[in-house]
């Protein structure tokens, strides 16, 4: 059978393209959710929880999200650059 290009649905034989698309979409959604979970914990901006989320705490959370993404991008970019000049990880990553 054709459409054997999907590695994520091994065992199902011919992969329904609709199913494949579904898997891609859900995987992406999951990555998003996971990051939200992580950032909510990491960025916790409240000492003692009050009756409502005040604007300072809210701004703090938003800032943290932005800085976290900035950091993540910075790390990826820099790693890419340093990998080009002197590949440090190429051996260990290829396992």
């Amino acid at each position: 059978m054709d459409s054997s290009s999907s590695s994520s649905a091994a065992g199902l034989g011919a992969v329904d393209p609709q199913l494949q698309h579904f898997i891609e979409v859900e995987t992406q959604k999951q990555r998003f959710q996971q990051l939200v979970h992580q950032m909510t914990e990491l960025c916790w901006c409240m000492d003692k929880p009050g009756p409502k989320l005040d604007s300072r705490a809210e701004a703090c959370f938003v800032n943290c999200v932005e800085r976290f993404i900035d950091t993540s991008q910075f790390i990826l970019n820099r790693l890419e650059q340093t990998q080009k000049s002197k590949p440090v990880f190429s051996e260990s990553l290829s396992d």
Partner: protein, 107 residues
Amino acid sequence: MEGGFGSDFGGSGSGKLDPGLIMEQVKVQIAVANAQELLQRMTDKCFRKCIGKPGGSLDNSEQSRAEPCAPPLPQKCIAMCMDRYMDAWNTVSRAYNSRLQRERANM
């Protein structure tokens, strides 16, 4: 024949897999997993905030979680913490989403 897939993923005994049913069931399982993650993190956070440092006459910093006899649950604190956690979660979700949209617009 009760194969691993047949029983869980909408196989009707004939061995045929209905993609629609599979997708529905996967969505449910993902939702459950997310709810569990949220619950676990929320519980951890609210425990630390509300019980790790119980109020009272004793010096808060002295009361560690190692105390054998924990004071009665500060339900109000936990309830508020849960609400604030959800507020925070939604705030983070919105902020992250906005950021993603911005990134996509810039590409």
